[in-house]
């Protein structure tokens, strides 16, 4: 069994991009995103690509992007979840009530107690997971189409959320809880640089480790220069992103208040950058975990197999019903995490939180290359899809396009993106 010589692969002239072996679809999306940003930057005379706007764009994208990660798994298995925005609202309402009413009034925890935020978060995530699992049970075991289950869920959870709070805005939320909201929780330049360096090193390590694993089995690998280019580009992109977030300076008024709260005075000429927001770090962690789940775990493999051919998956001994429960439970948990980010960003639970998010989340996944026919989709694509949608919306707002026109454009872009995707897949013969 030491004979690993495979038959020689016919030598072919490969283009620069072919030798890099990158996903051309992803490249196209990144290209479209860059053109979009440069276009807005040109029209707004340089106001779009400022550290401040990039910072805001990322924190606005987080909530939808987190849910889009879960939606990829749902759509890959040929289901849909129309209830995510409503589920987010219910989870947000539960967490708001736990921290402002239940814990202080019933359990007698003081406002500001360090226990409040963790308990609220655990309760919220447990509730989201349980509701999601219930949806999954209805879909998987009772075989009600997911479209119907979650359409019902949309109406139900939106109004359960209302019922829990009597339609009132609940807040302000616990200050530790608000750390997940973006501006109220950033890591500062030093920690951000350290994390950036770790991420960059991890990315480079990942690229070379994959190469090592391949060549250990005698499989063909890319040329060394291609791996080098990939390493440099990945590390550069990560560090550039961190540098941009660090370059956004905390306003002087805000600094003064922070120093006053500590009983100090703001030193003359002192300034500091925001750095990486906790919410963005959370998204990065979720994205990495979900990518590992999708590509390197049995659970992920079964998700894609089921999407590709449900009968084959069942005949291979995969319990596709239980799989459906797990996928929807995961979606529910991610809705709860998004609820933390969204309500913390607003510093309150509001009644209309998450409204229309189901459409944004589905659109992000689909623009990101998740095929509604099932079996195909990536986590990074969905996050890029969410970023493209948010950039489009923010950019148009900055240019001064009225809200109704913004929605018309976003709708048209969604349809266009799917059309381009269909054409692309026809050309490349992808599934």
């Amino acid at each position: 069994m030491t004979d690993t010589t495979s038959q020689p692969i016919p030598p072919q002239r490969k283009s620069f991009f072919q030798q890099l072996e990158l996903d051309t679809r992803l490249l196209g999306m990144v290209g479209a995103f860059i053109i979009l940003c440069l276009g807005f930057d040109f029209v707004t005379e340089g106001r779009f690509l400022t550290p401040r706007n990039i910072f805001n764009l990322t924190i606005q994208t987080v909530s939808v992007a987190i849910m889009a990660c879960g939606m990829v798994f749902i759509i890959v298995t040929r289901h849909i979840d129309l209830s995510v925005g409503a589920l987010l609202a219910t989870c947000s309402a539960i967490m708001a009530m736990v921290q402002t009413a239940f814990l202080p009034d019933v359990l007698g925890l003081d406002l500001g107690s360090p226990l409040i935020a963790p308990i609220a978060i655990v309760v919220g995530i447990a509730a989201g997971t349980a509701i999601g699992a219930f949806h999954g049970w209805l879909v998987g075991y009772l075989t009600i189409p997911a479209f119907i289950v979650t359409l019902g869920g949309l109406l139900i959870w939106r109004n359960v959320g209302w019922f829990l709070t009597r339609g009132q805005t609940i807040g302000p939320l616990d200050s530790n809880f608000q750390v997940f909201g973006g501006t109220n929780g950033t890591l500062g330049p030093t920690v951000s640089w350290v994390l950036g360096a770790i991420f960059a090193a991890a990315a480079v390590f990942g690229i070379w480790n994959a190469r090592r694993a391949k060549s250990a089995h005698g499989f063909p690998v890319k040329p060394v220069w291609a791996e080098m280019v990939l390493s440099v580009v990945s590390a550069g992109a990560i560090l550039g992103f961190i540098a941009t977030l660090n370059a956004y300076q905390v306003p002087q008024g805000r600094l003064r208040r922070i120093f006053e709260a500590r009983g100090e005075t703001l030193p003359e000429g002192y300034s500091i950058g925001y750095g990486l927001p906790v919410s963005v770090l959370l998204l990065i962690v979720i994205a990495v975990l979900m990518t590992v789940v999708a590509r390197r775990t049995r659970f992920g493999r079964y998700i894609f197999a089921t999407g590709g051919n449900p009968d084959a998956a069942e005949l291979s001994g995969i319990n596709t019903r239980m799989l459906t429960v797990k996928i929807f439970a995961l979606m529910g948990a991610l809705c709860a995490i998004s609820a933390i980010v969204a309500s913390a960003r607003l510093t309150n639970h509001t009644n209309d939180i998450g409204t229309l998010d189901e459409l944004r989340v589905i659109a992000a996944a689909v623009i990101g290359g998740t095929a509604l026919a099932g079996g195909v989709g990536t986590i990074h694509g969905a996050i890029l899809g969410a970023l493209i949608m948010q950039s489009l919306q923010s950019g148009m707002a900055m240019v001064g396009v009225d809200a109704p026109y913004q929605n018309i454009v976003v709708g048209a872009v969604l349809v266009l993106a799917v059309l381009i995707d269909i054409q692309y897949r026809k050309r490349t013969g992808d599934a």
């Binding site: 590992v292 493999r301 079964y302 590709g308 084959a312 005949l315 001994g317 013969g429």
Partner: protein, 250 residues
Amino acid sequence: MTTPLVEMRNMSISFGGIKAVDHVSVDLHPGEVVGLLGHNGAGKSTLIKMLSGAYAPDGGEIFINGEKATITNPRDARSYNIETIYQTLALADNLDAASNLFLGRELVTSTGLVDDAAMEAETRKIMKRLNPNFQKFNAPVSALSGGQRQSVAIARAVYFNARILIMDEPTAALGPHETQMVSELIQQLKAEGIGIFLIDHDVHQVLNLCDRASVMKNGQLVGTVNTADVTDDDLLSMIILGKNPNEVDA
């Protein structure tokens, strides 16, 4: 007579009033190849799907090595070392050959993560035996030809040390050379003591490869014959007319 490896007694199943399989009994001994013949829609695939766990029977009993077996899903069948090549192949089109071969039984690293490199290496080894021309290891199986897909399905059934192998028209899409290789494979597995149910429309093939043949018509068993005792005309008349000329049950 030794205890049969598999005994299916009075198997029945209906789909919405149609008796797809109606009180059919067949058996299989270690190192034996039993052919299943019959016209399209006779119930051959449905019969073996009750053994592979794809369908739950309405009636009948299955004995493995003389002991009553409960097979309610494909996982149960796998636990009895029953492997199946389905007529539809049952491949996930969006995954590559290795992922399909190991579907449901992935190799994992020490950290519990799916070990794609190891699975690809194993897949390359077994494909070298079955179909040496096969090279598309990194493409989704949707990009493979019908015969290449069939090779993947065969590899999956053979890889996991089956004791009972079900082959539902395994060579339907294969070229002459590949069909020849499957015939050799069947003989080799037979010599290893594996019992094989072979569904095939080619009467010559069945006479060459099988020890016995069971013929079905309209969901019912016409009869089981020793292939040494019959001619291809005998088999054809059993298939077409449903007549059992000289039943010599083993």
